[in-house]
């Protein structure tokens, strides 16, 4: 009997130690995000003081967001640019990689393996090293300093990961399923849309999340390729706010901008965590 209580006490102690560590570590990882979120709802004057305590003392306020709205041509224009770029990147990436994944999975054609290796191997090459030629190519195409131009770059950067994911997704679907449909006389595109698409939807979700996060958060290419202030995406605009390009730095406004940039990523991740982690581990397991 005393031995049993000793074991129980030791287990309880272990559990306290375990969760003590877990909760402190969780706090450290979440705190900066929470701190920023809380400060973004302080009145401007309070946000210009050190965030101790982090929560608004002088009342909840959306003043920082309103101040941010007046930077440059207005934050909603920049948020709109970001949204258009990300949405277009997601849609285009899904369509192009869906088609290519199907092609690489189900058809035989000349140079098939060479083309697949070509696309996948671009993952090894840092896009940072080809930004100057990309700038010149987009200029030649009349797409420099345009949102469609940057979308084309983002879609291309998503190709190796997305096509790898989609080909694997199609490979996992038994051939008999589409053979049956083909015998019934359905066209290739109809089979892809009606029969295959629902079966590879988890892969599409993974591809879409990665395309969204990458394009929503991308900074360097946008900084270089978007030269007109009206075309800025949120990260470029916020970096300009931080560097004082729009006058004195209003730190409350910076926090509201950070919230605007973070919120969609956090919400999307919390809702679709499963598909995100699947994409992450696909590379690790292979």
């Amino acid at each position: 009997m005393p031995r049993k209580t000793a074991v129980a006490a030791r287990n309880a102690l272990r559990s306290i130690r375990h969760h003590g560590f877990g909760l402190i570590a969780s706090f450290l990882f979440v705190a900066p995000i929470a701190w920023s979120a809380l400060v973004s709802f302080k009145p401007s004057a309070e946000a210009a003081r050190p965030p101790l305590p982090p929560w608004p003392v002088e009342g909840f306020s959306t003043q920082s967001y309103q101040n941010l709205a007046h930077y440059g041509v207005g934050v909603w224009t920049y948020a709109g640019n970001s949204l258009v770029v990300s949405a277009a990147t997601v849609v285009a990436t899904v369509i192009v990689s869906l088609l290519a994944g199907y092609g690489f999975s189900r058809f035989q054609f000349p140079l098939k393996n060479a083309l697949f290796v070509l696309i996948i191997s671009t993952v090894m090459i840092p896009f940072q090293s080809i930004l100057t030629p990309l700038f010149l190519i987009l200029t030649r195409l009349g797409l420099q300093n345009t949102l469609p131009g940057i979308v084309l770059i983002y879609v291309t950067l998503q190709m190796p990961f997305s096509i790898f994911m989609m080909r694997n997704a199609f490979d996992a679907v038994p051939k008999e399923i589409e053979d049956a449909a083909r015998v019934d006389g359905a066209s290739v595109l109809l089979v892809l849309r009606r029969i295959m698409l629902p079966l590879v939807l988890p892969g599409v979700a993974t591809v879409a999340i990665f395309a969204f996060l990458a394009s929503w958060n991308e900074f360097l290419a946008a900084l270089i390729l978007l030269t007109d202030q009206k075309k800025y995406t949120l990260p470029v605009m916020m970096a300009a706010v931080r560097s004082g390009q729009f006058g004195t730095i209003d730190w409350g406004a910076v926090q509201s901008g950070v919230m605007l940039m973070m919120a969609p990523c956090l919400v999307l991740f919390l809702l679709l965590q499963r598909y995100y982690i699947r994409g992450l581990t696909a590379g690790a397991v292979k």
Binding site: V96, L99, G103, P110, T122, P126, Q128, S129, L213, A284
Partner: protein, 307 residues
């Protein structure tokens, strides 16, 4: 439709035509992707090399100068400073990330109460962008309105407010802490997949034989995770060599250009000074470095699991 079905594959010529048609369909499916990669990746890659052999101003005619850009690069003290700093940062930040990510992976390995919550919490900073994270930490590090300096001051740890961005060391280590915060969760998940790949029977058998936790970790866990560790290591090294956002947004390359990374240097040569050829030469050096790392990565991943 009915006709093609009745005559299906009757003559060799027809069969050949059908095969060619099927091949064409396959090519059409992959064509958009191939076109994108050719126009926006392969062509620019060739151009980058071509440009690196020229004196290439933004406006005006490029002049072919052979390998002079590369020769100048070797003499350029600021190029070497950027390379040295990038390597220094990569080594330090990779060690720091592993020192945090490995314990976290071990911590969240077994399914216990709250484990899912812990995994999500540690992973949260990974999904926000480097841009947002940098803006957030630029504020936390600010001497007047930030968190760290006022907090340390109020707790009596410092005698007066400390401007973290004033000196190299405080700037550098603050950014290292920020990057660890931002990326530890990513490496935790990668390492976790490796940990979960080790069969619990092996661990159990070793425990029955009286192996201590430390022994099991060194003799079983680490060797069996070699591939996963190599993958996480190389992803972290490649990512760190290409670092830009945090040094640009938080420190503006300062103080006194002491935190200018390789990509930052290419950026300022190409798009601030508009020496496009010179910037391209540096790009090619960076590219060779990273491709070498990736090839090593593939090698390591191909070797059989285990010892």
């Amino acid at each position: 439709m009915t006709q093609s079905q009745t005559s299906q594959g009757h003559t060799p010529r027809r069969r050949g035509a059908r095969l060619r048609r099927k091949q064409m369909v396959g090519l059409l499916f992959v064509a958009p992707a191939v076109l994108l990669v050719l126009v926006f990746f392969v062509v620019p890659l060739g151009m980058a090399f071509w440009m690196s052999l020229h004196n290439w101003p933004l406006l005006g005619r490029p002049r072919f100068i052979g390998f002079a850009n590369y020769a100048n690069l070797m003499q350029d003290e600021r190029f070497w400073a950027a390379m040295r700093f990038t390597v220094y940062y990569t080594v330090i930040v990779t060690i720091a990330i592993f020192a945090v990510a490995f314990p976290l992976a071990l911590f969240v390995e077994k399914a216990r109460p709250l484990t899912r919550f812990y995994r999500t919490a540690f992973f949260l900073p990974v999904v926000i962008g480097f841009g947002s994270a940098s803006l957030l930490w630029a504020w936390l590090m600010n001497v007047d309105v930030g968190l760290f300096s006022p907090l340390a001051f109020r707790l009596g740890l410092t005698e007066k407010p400390v401007n973290l961005l004033a000196g190299f060391d405080t700037t550098f280590w603050s950014i290292v802490v920020m990057v660890v915060w931002k990326t530890a969760g990513f490496n935790m998940i990668i390492l976790l997949t490796g940990l979960q790949g080790i069969s619990s029977e092996v661990q159990e058998a070793a425990r029955m034989d009286g192996a201590s936790y430390g022994q099991r970790f060194r003799r079983i866990t680490l060797p069996l995770m070699r591939r996963t560790i190599a993958l996480a290591l190389i992803l972290s090294v490649a990512g760190s060599i290409l670092a830009f956002d945090q040094f640009y947004i938080i420190a503006d390359g300062g103080p006194q250009n002491s935190t200018v990374t390789a990509v930052y240097w290419i950026f300022s040569q190409s798009f601030v000074s508009f020496r496009l050829g010179y910037g391209s030469a540096m790009s090619m050096v960076l590219l060779v470095l990273l491709v070498t790392i990736s090839v090593v990565q593939l090698r390591l991943l191909r070797t059989p699991e285990g010892m």
